[in-house]
């Protein structure tokens, strides 16, 4: 047997490079194996790095939510942009108590996410809202508000002067008919000193005039989409220990408030000119881009040069003078007009950019409000809940945060953590009392339901008296009777205890494990504990909970499998045909072998071993090349060239590792494909009759 095997191996070795066909087949096998090793290892590494990002920034090792929920949990929101419809769980305390008894559970953190739109009026709207607040405080006896009122009045007056100047310049370009006489009249009135001298006689009347006649003339209002999640902030910071505060501070224990993701804060609230300068600097320094060659950077430079209004509106007369003096000195020019100086400052190229960037931050920035929202300010958040009603709250921003290693990733910090008590108020849980109140209002109205399809017949098919108009009588409406309470209370200043956090609703919870390796067992244990205690929970892995983002690698893996299967199917076909051709070329040789006593089994074995040798030689080379490439790249790492890649790479660089499993799989596939492709040629070969074969020329 051994001798036979040795002979077969010798034959296989002799035939390995005997035909060009073998070389082509070998190269196909090499390519397929190389792809499986490199692709498989890359995906495994990507899976690991992404799991670090998702587990460490939002999901924890596992997530639990109500099994009765209509949708599946999706921490990053659903495809259409909305949120998954999840059933709220009444008490966190009970869930926490049960889950903490599961041996591998280290921590349970309550959560619940939602989206909100934050709108802010234009520059004058914002300024007038502050003036209104200060005026109210002054009237309430706060003497310190007087200085603020005077400063804001001077500032608004200055903005109107700038606006008047703007319109004067615009007048040269438009004809009389295009002008709005009401706007002209309002600007004329407010730009005069008399308006401001009389302001204090009727401050709120004057404010309404400014709000309704002057503010609409500006159009720089802003809107930002905010995703937030309510949580036990202290437990969250402990469980997700990569979280680090960048500006401000952590929300103090028992206080209401939220943290904003640093990236979101910079993108949404920073002065646009400053943000563009930062982005240009980053591109130049990190990606070695040049303004001369990068169209995006040129666009940003252009936008900074053509939109100096936002900065001019921010400066009151004193600061305008100071800014002009500073820029004059730094830019070494005699120009006195601030608008022209700003254009000169923002007219940057690869030679002067760093210097102008420095001038902006050292000379101009201290005079400006770099952020539309300051740390410590409150954001009014208004959101439509599942109940259909809008709920709102002023939420104080205590600071900004990011996650270590994921500082530049917009995805790792896509949501702002907020205290759970405020979240619950915004969520608008439909209590039985509320449901009863709504039912009462509905019944009192006595409205009749009419479907869209039947509307015309039901509404206009009767006698028609109502539609023709019936006589009615006016009724005195008693307003006092309609207001039965003092309206909604504002709760932003109230504090809460740990018991308040624990004894209330939550939507989902992150579960952190002591040993993440024992994931499958822990899922079973949690499910069993939930079922035994009637909690009605559903357990989701981080991949399931992260929705489409979590399954991204899985989709890539499927794509790789499909490509690999196609390659190997093609390889199998080519291989089968090639082996068949080679077999037919060797009819004489096989016939001779058969004539001198070789059995059919020997011939079958010969062809199989020859193909296996081919697969081993080229497949092995593919394995070695693939593993070598992954090891080489894994040594130096691949830099995350875009912000999105930070999240998938789990940090600024990605270090793929060779996966032994993938090597074994690749080699296994090669062997199976080789064996399968020899079945038909071997069958043909064994049918060769020695007499016929030896009689033929070939």
């Amino acid at each position: 047997m051994v001798t036979k095997l040795r002979v077969l191996l010798q034959i296989a070795w002799r035939n390995l490079f005997a035909s060009w066909l073998n070389v082509i087949i070998g190269l196909v096998i090499l390519g397929g194996t190389f792809l499986v090793v490199v692709g498989g290892s890359a995906l495994d590494s990507l899976d690991r790095s992404m799991s670090r990002s998702i587990i460490g920034s939002v999901s924890g090792d596992l997530q639990v939510y109500a099994a009765s929920s209509k949708d599946k949990l999706s921490l990053f929101g659903q495809m259409g942009g909305g949120d998954a419809d999840l059933t709220p769980i009444p008490s966190f305390a009970r869930v926490k108590e049960v889950l903490m008894k599961v041996p591998n559970v280290r921590a349970v953190v309550p959560m619940g996410a939602a989206n909100a739109i934050i709108t802010s009026g234009n520059t004058v709207d914002v300024m007038l809202a502050r003036l209104r607040d200060a005026q109210k405080r002054m009237q309430a006896g706060d003497a310190s508000a007087k200085a603020e009122v005077d400063s804001l009045k001077a500032h608004v007056h200055h903005i109107v002067q700038v606006l008047k100047e703007d319109r004067k310049n615009a007048d040269k370009l438009v004809d009389e008919s295009a002008k709005d006489p009401r706007a002209e009249e309002a600007i004329e009135r407010v730009s005069k000193d008399e308006f401001w001298a009389e302001f204090d006689q009727d401050p709120f009347g004057s404010l309404e005039y400014l709000e309704n006649r002057i503010a609409p003339l500006l159009s720089d209002g802003q809107m930002a989409f905010l995703r937030y999640f309510g949580t036990d902030l202290d437990a969250f910071a402990q469980a997700f220990d990569r979280l680090q505060i960048v500006d401000g501070q952590m929300v103090p224990q028992g206080h209401r408030g939220m943290l904003l993701p640093k990236f979101f804060y910079e993108e949404s609230f920073k002065l646009k000119h400053a943000r563009r300068l930062d982005l240009i600097k980053e591109e130049i320094e990190e990606n070695h881009a040049t303004i001369a060659k990068n169209a995006d950077l040129q666009r940003m430079v252009r936008e900074n040069m053509t939109q100096p209004r936002e900065i001019l509106f921010q400066l009151d007369p004193l600061k305008t003078k100071e800014a002009a003096a500073r820029l004059q000195k730094s830019l070494k020019t005699n120009e006195t007009d601030l608008e022209k100086l700003l254009v000169q400052l923002f007219d940057t190229n690869d030679q002067n950019f760093q210097e102008h960037y420095r001038i902006f931050y050292s000379d101009l920035a201290p005079l400006l409000e770099l952020y539309r929202l300051r740390i410590g300010d409150s954001i009014p958040i208004r959101t439509y809940s599942r109940s259909g009603y809008a709920h709102s709250a002023n939420v104080k921003v205590w600071g900004t945060f990011n996650f270590k290693g994921l500082e530049k990733s917009p995805l790792a910090g896509v949501a702002a953590p907020m205290d759970l008590i405020t979240f619950r108020e915004l969520y608008g849980y439909m209590s039985p009392e509320r449901r009863t109140e709504l039912e009462r209002i509905k019944q009192a109205a006595g409205a009749q339901d009419i479907s869209r399809e039947d509307a015309e017949a039901a509404l206009f098919g009767g006698s028609g008296e109502d539609a023709a108009g019936t006589e009615g009588a006016t009724t005195a409406i008693d307003e006092a009777a309609l207001f039965d309470s003092g309206g909604a209370a504002r709760a932003e200043e109230t504090t809460f205890t740990q018991a308040d956090i624990d004894n209330g609703i939550f939507i989902n919870a992150a579960v952190m494990l002591k040993d993440p390796g024992a994931l499958s067992q822990t899922i079973q244990d949690i499910q069993a504990a939930s079922d035994a205690n009637g909690l009605g929970l559903k357990v989701a892995t981080w991949q399931e909970a992260a929705g489409i983002i979590g399954q991204f690698v899985q989709y890539l893996r499927y794509a790789l499998y499909v490509i690999a299967i196609i390659i190997f199917l093609v390889a199998m076909l080519i291989l089968s045909n090639a082996v068949l051709m080679a077999t037919l070329q060797r009819v004489r040789e096989i016939g001779t072998m058969r004539a001198i006593g070789a059995q059919r089994g020997f011939v079958r074995m010969m062809i199989a071993i020859e193909t296996l040798a081919l697969g081993t030689a080229f497949g092995g080379t593919g394995l070695a090349l693939g593993a070598g490439l992954v090891a080489l790249v894994g040594h130096s790492g691949i830099p995350a060239v875009s912000r999105q890649l930070y999240f998938f790479f789990g940090g600024p660089r990605w270090f793929p590792e060779v996966s032994v499993t993938n090597m074994v799989i690749a080699y296994g596939i090669v062997l199976v494909v080789s064996i399968l492709s020899t079945l038909y040629p071997a069958m043909i070969a064994t049918r060769v009759s020695p007499v016929v074969a030896m009689a033929s020329d070939e």
Partner: protein, 260 residues
């Protein structure tokens, strides 16, 4: 002889066909109808109404609101102040000139809103509660006749005039031939996409001292969302009070005071 026959045939055609074509409305006639519709609903003095709003949406519990609507037609001012449910009490809208403000007492802030604002998240818009200004804001064209239940109606298409900001730039009105009441209204985006269909099945008239005449109002309005087909809104005007309102009512300060 032949010419005589032709003339006679033409005469017969004109005489017999005339009743069929007679219902076509020309520009001045349409404008007159729109002015009549606007004028009937205008009080001239002040107006206060108690309204009920009910919103239906797919897979959601119906939302209900009760609100007071205040109008001072002479000054072009409108205020909607919500009274029920409790969580909504004190919030409201204030329109002054072309500014629509929303006040939320739970955050104590005013926000600027547009004409497209869905009042309290329903399918209704500011204009549904305000004085009718069809003749002032739109240019009509005649589209034909239609039967709506047992009513014979004219169908008019209205296009918004230049520089006027409205929620829907194109409207189709079904106007009852007999009473000139608007019974149905379809509203379109500029692209021609149908956005909303409204029905006005109940019209009521009350005597106004300030106008020295009748003021009409739609007692019931039903709005069907044509984008989100499952959404619809019912608005009921439960009572109307035409006595003069306080002089300083249409201010932010007044509305704020209602939630204190």
């Amino acid at each position: 002889m032949r010419t005589l026959h032709t003339i006679a045939a033409a005469l017969v055609t004109v005489l017999f066909c005339r009743p069929v074509l007679a219902e076509t409305l020309d520009g001045p006639a349409m404008l007159k109808i729109l002015q009549e519709i606007d004028d009937r609903q205008r009080n001239g003095g002040d107006y206060k109404a108690l309204v009920y709003l009910e919103q239906k949406e797919k897979d959601k519990t119906d939302t209900v609101h009760e609100a007071l609507v205040y109008r001072r037609d002479a000054d072009n001012k409108l205020m909607i102040l919500f009274t029920k449910p409790k969580t909504e009490q004190g919030s409201g809208y204030l329109r002054i000139d072309n500014n629509l403000w929303f006040y939320d007492p739970s955050v104590g802030r005013w926000e600027r809103r547009t004409e497209r604002e869905r009042i309290a998240g329903t399918d209704s818009r500011r204009a549904d509660f305000d004085e009718s200004r069809l003749a002032e804001e739109y240019t009509p064209s005649f589209k034909g006749e239609d039967k709506l239940g047992r009513f014979d109606t004219w169908v008019l298409e209205l296009k918004v005039k230049d520089g006027v900001d409205v929620a829907f730039p194109v409207l189709k009105l079904w106007v009852d031939k007999a009473t000139h009441n608007v019974l149905k209204r379809q509203e379109f985006a500029l692209s021609g996409k149908l956005m909303r269909t409204a029905y006005y099945p109940k019209w009521k008239k009350v005597y106004s001292e300030s106008k020295q005449g009748e003021v009409w109002y739609p007692e019931e309005m039903r709005f069907f969302d044509e984008i989100e087909k499952a959404n619809s809104t019912l608005v009921l005007i439960k009572s109307v009070d035409l006595r003069p309102l306080e002089a300083n009512m249409f201010t932010k300060a007044w509305l704020e005071s209602k939630s204190r």
